[in-house]
């Protein structure tokens, strides 16, 4: 295993407001399996910034009445207990009960049949289920992330679990790879590769490891963005002069021009309802964010403050937009409420790039630089919880958070 394959290490700072106090008990039954499960569940919930973990309640099976008085005294509002049984056919069954400490009733019961190799995946599913039950929003612990690792003379497009575990290369190249982005169903990645001495857009099927060219026209082909239906992409082509927005079918057919400007139009991103395409343009003299209907037509300017606002990323609920703003020479991740146009700078770093929303909109993954080295970082969309994900002795950049696993 080379250093480039090494697991992303996660470091968390800050804490969310009004975190839900929860106790994840040690599960009973198969001790080693149960311990592995609970440690991943706890780490997931802790990393989300939405929970405060209450320790020290010991073991609790799924069928044992929780020690409600003790839990209440420790400040837990919720408790999860569980039991892992060996089914003696290479499989285990883990049953989990989630209980309300104050009402002393059961909130949820789930059973999972899994192999030893599926331990982490099962733990992520349990954490997702707890998260959704208690917050009303889907958990993102079972999702995957893509990013590019640069080591000497080598670029790798890697896929990892959302917690950085199980990193696998999807593509290795001697030439740069940029702008990976997940298809809405999570089965493919579109990206830009420079292996032909120029930027060319590919769509790469992750299950088969087969890929095809989506755009390799004369000039540059870059900035792919999936339509929410997964059938088309917005792309930037220079084949007709200048960097301009086009739409293309995912198989590379049916290229049509979306917009025309005398300047640069780039970094398209569909709104989640597919109605609009947000993009960066210097048509007004400095790079700013605009939007245009996905069917074309008039453009509307979105950012006005400052002289450099780029890389628009509409949130999954369509209500806000993350982007990179340059302020006093620092490139920082910002979030705009699209209704009020109020903006908030979410980071205190100065070389932020390529933000990507978690599919539940609660976190943003982005690239930044620490000590001259590219690292991935994540921040909650209220700016309170920050995480740093780094790979030893390599540059990590171009993160893209995958969709929810259905």
């Amino acid at each position: 295993m080379t250093s480039a394959h090494a697991q992303l290490k996660i470091e968390i700072t800050g804490a969310g407001a009004n975190r839900l106090p929860i106790a994840i008990a040690d599960f009973s039954g198969e001790r080693i399996v149960a311990q592995a499960l609970t440690s991943v569940i706890r780490a997931d919930l802790d990393r989300s910034g939405m929970f405060r973990l209450i320790d020290g309640i010991g073991m609790l099976g799924d069928n044992t009445p929780p020690p409600f008085a003790d839990l209440k005294q420790r400040g837990a509002d919720t408790v999860a207990g569980g039991t892992t049984a060996d089914l003696n056919n290479g499989r285990f069954e883990t049953r989990v009960r989630l209980s309300d400490v104050l009402k002393q009733n059961t909130l949820d019961m789930q059973a999972y049949v899994h192999t030893g190799a599926q331990l982490r995946a099962t733990a992520h599913r349990i954490a997702d289920s707890i998260y959704e039950k208690l917050t009303g929003e889907p958990g993102i612990f079972s999702t995957r992330i893509a990013y590019v690792v640069k080591s000497t003379g080598r670029f790798e497009l890697q896929i990892a679990d959302a917690d950085g575990a199980n990193a696998q290369p999807a593509l290795a190249s001697r030439e740069p790879i940029i702008s990976p982005t997940w298809s809405p169903d999570g089965s493919k990645l579109a990206y830009v590769s420079f292996e032909a001495k120029k930027p060319v857009i590919y769509v790469h099927d992750l299950a088969t490891a087969k890929r095809h060219v989506v755009a390799n026209f004369k000039g540059s082909n870059s900035a792919p963005a999936w339509a929410p239906d997964g059938k088309r992409l917005a792309v930037v082509l220079t084949k007709e002069g200048g960097s301009q927005l086009f739409l293309v079918n995912a198989d590379g057919s049916g290229v049509t021009r979306l917009a025309s400007s005398a300047g640069i139009d780039t970094e398209p991103r569909f709104s989640p309802d597919g109605q609009f395409i947000y993009f960066t343009s210097d048509r007004g003299g400095s790079p700013q964010i605009y939007r245009i209907a996905a069917t074309g037509g008039a453009t509307e300017r979105i950012t006005f403050d400052g002289s450099y606002n780029v890389t628009p990323r509409p949130s999954p609920d369509g209500k806000s937009m993350a982007y990179i703003a340059r302020t006093n020479g620092r490139f920082q991740l910002a979030l705009m409420d699209l209704a009020t146009k109020q903006t908030q700078i979410l980071t205190d770093s100065s070389k932020d790039e390529s933000p990507s929303f978690a599919p539940n909109g609660r976190m943003l993954l982005y690239a930044t630089e620490i000590g001259g080295r590219g690292v991935l970082a994540a921040v909650s969309s209220d700016g309170r919880v920050k995480q740093k994900l780094s790979v030893q002795a390599a540059d990590v950049r171009e993160p893209s958070w995958g969709p929810l696993v259905r």
Partner: protein, 177 residues
């Protein structure tokens, strides 16, 4: 052959002197090249044969301006500076004289800011070089302008000196890409 190359060399010298009559540019170095080429022809005729300025061999001949392939741009600028006009004249003439040769122009940008926006900035630089060459006689189907953005830096330190080296357009010919 000798007549042709002498003719080409003379044409080349004329082009350069025509070029130096353009508006003044302080850092222009074309005058140095202008005086060197004719004196080579006069002083040592045997070297003329080995230096046909519009031959494919000249592309890699360090005596030929055709071996110079990089054009540097100012910060936030996409204008080809006057000091590169004579170089582009030579490349334009080469493409006109060698109709089967094709050129890939790779634009580059410094590392600050968004990768995709920088890709578009690098494209503006390669497009500017392409436009100059079209005006100088190269055919549209001989030219392709692309961008490498900030992805292939010539220099990777975060200093102004280094960034200046990365605000660049590079010229590649058939067989080199």
């Amino acid at each position: 052959m000798r007549t042709v190359s002498l003719f080409s060399a003379t044409l080349f010298a004329l082009l350069l002197s025509a070029c130096s009559s353009q508006p003044p540019a302080p850092e222009q170095n074309a005058s140095g090249m202008e005086s060197r080429t004719p004196s080579t022809i006069g002083a040592d005729p045997s070297r003329v044969e080995s230096f046909d300025p519009l031959s494919v061999a000249a592309l890699k001949d360090p005596r030929s301006p055709l071996s110079k392939r990089s054009i540097y741009f100012d910060y936030d600028s996409y204008l080809v500076k006057d000091e590169y006009q004579s170089l582009l004249v030579t490349h334009g003439k080469f493409l006109a004289a060698n109709s089967t040769m094709k050129m890939l122009i790779q634009g580059n940008a410094d590392e600050r800011g968004s990768r995709e926006y920088n890709l578009a900035l690098g494209q503006k630089r390669s497009d500017a070089i392409k436009k100059s060459l079209s005006l100088l006689g190269a055919r549209e189907d001989q030219l392709e302008s692309v961008s490498l953005g900030e992805e292939k830096p010539a220099c990777s330190e975060a200093t102004e000196e280094c960034w200046a080296q990365n605000r660049r357009g590079d010229i590649l010919y058939s067989g080199e890409f």
